[in-house]
């Protein structure tokens, strides 16, 4: 009697067990679909960067700007698969860098999805410098720099915060450092690399007069800048939302905070411009939104919406003030990458500590400060050395003839608007 009852009981359990196993598979499948969708949105941010940066450059350099954005994701993807992913996420017993999972293959579970997602994060970090350094950077020098940033500068710092996916933990993570989607890991690192780049390069020809007076060099297509801003905003829903790596209800708060911070960033920038007595410029308004997005990236999963608004608002102000500061230092940042990504990334990382949902804990804020400082001390001198070496070896700064002719022609033998720009030469010499 017992055996049949047992058998019947086991049979009755089968749907439950099957359901649980099916649920787990379904969960992984859903997580994968969400992660890949988010990765696609992050990839689309490259188009946003290309349009925003291209619009802010002069017409004779537009193709060069686009090519930098297009190819650094191509090269960066290959390099990140080769070595970056392993350095960043491989087993990290020391807490300083990963030691395996290079040239990923024969992977398990969601590894391929994670690799794709984080490859596009790496591409985002490296392309930040391209805009700041636009209009006077030799293409070969820029690409070599992008390779080193993707292979070394970005993943090593990333391993300190997000490392140890396959064992161990980064030293900043061990301290309790919070950077949910990369205000510091992606954006500030990119911003400090950009700062180093513009210092080594020097300004565009004629940007500053003999007495240091600032000469405006307007972008050639303002609607493109706005379109780029919209696309970046859209992509950020994947950037922050996808960082959960899971398709669950937390995405709601994350993406709402993302949206609110972007909105507040624009408002903050507009208020700052009005208070400064200047016109409300579209370029700075768009940059204010991007600054808000950068800032909220660290704490979007761990703060209430009201603080997302505060974070974004302050970021917008920082964008306006930071832009003026760079000009006061006679540093030429074509697109405002340093204030938007560097300064706002630092602010957002701090805000993640100040406005944490668990309440104000000064120890936590202190750890955020350590992480911010570590990012500066790693990325800025490293990039300075990198760009200095590139300048001394293959060359980094375009000469005066190249700047006169436009980098579209000198670096790519094309012009962006052939119906409106005649070729500089009928034949190549």
């Amino acid at each position: 009697m017992i055996k049949p009852a047992l058998s019947l009981g086991l049979l009755a359990l089968l749907p439950v067990v099957g359901h649980a196993a099916g649920s787990e598979t379904l969960r992984v499948d859903l997580d994968t679909v969400w992660l890949i969708t988010a990765a696609a949105l992050v990839f689309f941010m490259q188009a946003g960067f290309a349009l925003l940066e291209g619009g802010m450059a002069r017409a004779k350099n537009a193709v060069n700007v686009i090519m930098k954005n297009y190819v650094d994701v191509c090269l960066g993807s290959l390099v990140f698969w080769l070595v970056g992913y392993g350095l960043m996420f491989g087993a990290n017993p020391s807490g300083w860098f990963g030691t395996d999972h290079f040239l990923l293959g024969n992977a398990e579970g969601m590894d391929y999805s994670l690799l794709l997602f984080h490859t596009l994060f790496a591409a985002t970090a490296v392309t930040i410098a391209s805009g700041a350094m636009a209009e006077r950077t030799l293409y070969r020098g820029y690409l070599l720099g992008a390779i080193v940033v993707t292979a070394l500068i970005y993943p090593v710092f990333g391993s300190w915060v997000w490392g140890g996916l396959y064992g161990g933990q980064g030293w900043l993570a061990q301290l309790g450092f919070i950077d949910f989607a990369g205000s510091t890991v992606v954006h500030s690192i990119g911003g400090w690399v950009a700062l180093a780049g513009i210092i080594v390069l020097g300004p565009r020809l004629g940007r500053f007069g003999p007495q240091g007076e600032v000469r405006e060099i307007p972008g050639h297509n303002l609607p493109l800048i706005a379109l780029g801003g919209f696309i970046l905003w859209l992509g950020w829903f994947g950037f922050n939302g996808g960082s959960t790596t899971r398709a669950d209800v937390s995405i709601g708060l994350i993406t709402l905070n993302t949206h609110l911070a972007a909105s507040a960033g624009a408002v903050g920038a507009m208020l700052a411009m009005r208070l400064a007595g200047q016109g409300v410029l579209m370029t700075l308004t768009v940059n204010g939104s991007i600054g808000g997005l950068v800032a909220i990236t660290a704490g979007c999963a761990s703060m209430q919406p009201v603080f997302a608004i505060v974070t974004g608002l302050v970021a917008g102000v920082i964008v306006v003030l930071g832009t003026r500061l760079l000009l006061a230092w006679r540093l030429d940042d074509v697109v405002g990458a340093v204030p938007v990504h560097g300064f706002c990334g630092a602010w957002g990382t701090l805000a993640a500590g100040l406005f944490h949902v668990d309440g104000l804990d000064w120890l936590r804020v202190g750890v955020q400060g350590i992480g911010i400082a570590a990012g500066v001390l790693w990325a800025f001198p490293g990039a300075l050395l990198l760009y200095w070496l590139l300048q001394r070896s293959v060359g980094l700064r375009a000469g005066t003839l190249e700047q006169q002719r436009g980098l579209d022609f000198t670096e790519h033998a094309e012009v962006g608007y052939p119906e409106f720009q005649q070729r500089l030469h009928q034949v190549q010499d």
Binding site: L205, G206, G209, P210, R215, E216, P218, Q403, Q404, R423
Partner: protein, 233 residues
């Protein structure tokens, strides 16, 4: 007249001029010294270390100092190793005054028998229009710019001495003509230098506008059918 404001090595070149002037005062009179300093500017100031040996040979040949080459070499090396406080002041203002006086008192070249190359004519037209457009946009800057350009031309490494002298004279005098066959790379260098000067004076947006306007006007000229002015860019 200030030292060249666009030269990234302004400090280094000024130091070199001071050291050379200090070393050569015991070998040359005042006019010879200024000519020798111009020879340094033209031939050796941007080159590698071996340029010093070339410069010493040039001095020896030009001023009959073969017997004193070793002392010349020793004095120059010593002066270049001195701290700046021990050197004479920068002779650049005297060099500029000497060169301006030298060209203003030269008689204009006579009409050559050979036809003037098309690229020279087109270059002259383009540069004249560029400078004329600049004169309208910034009349107070044009004289200084022409002088800076003349000084640059005298250092132009891609042109022969004759071309450099003719170009500098044309820029400083109103009546001199451009008649020689200039290398294309040299003409591009001069035009680019004007562009750089205008970028510094008026900004790159204005520089691009003036260049584009000048180019469009030059393309309507007859000589532009023989030589495309865009090859000068």
């Amino acid at each position: 007249m200030n030292s060249p404001t666009l030269d990234n090595d302004t400090g280094r070149k000024a130091f070199q001029r001071r050291a050379i002037a200090t070393a050569l005062t015991s070998f040359l009179d005042d006019e010879q010294l200024l000519r020798a300093l111009w020879q340094w500017e033209q031939h050796a100031s941007s080159g590698p270390a071996l340029a010093l040996n070339y410069f010493i040979r040039l001095l020896a040949d030009t001023y009959d100092l073969q017997e004193q080459q070793r002392k010349l070499h020793r004095d120059l090396i010593t002066a270049l190793a001195q701290p700046a406080d021990n050197l004479l002041p920068d002779p650049w203002p005297r060099m500029v005054a000497y060169r301006n006086h030298h060209y203003r008192t030269q008689t204009p070249a006579t009409t050559p028998a050979l036809p003037i190359p098309a690229q020279t004519l087109v270059f002259k037209s383009l540069l004249q229009r560029f400078l004329a457009a600049l004169a309208l946009a910034a009349p107070e800057q044009i004289t200084a710019l022409r002088e800076q350009l003349a000084l640059y031309c005298l250092q132009q490494p891609d042109c022969s001495d004759a071309c450099r002298e003719e170009l500098a004279a044309w820029l400083c005098q109103g009546r001199a003509r451009l008649t020689l066959n200039y290398p294309l790379v040299g003409l591009r260098g001069v035009l680019n230098h004007v562009y750089v000067l205008v970028c510094t004076l008026l900004g790159p947006v204005k520089a691009d506008q003036l260049l584009a306007t000048s180019l469009t006007e030059t393309e309507t000229l007859a000589e532009s059918r023989q030589f495309n002015p865009r090859k000068l860019l």
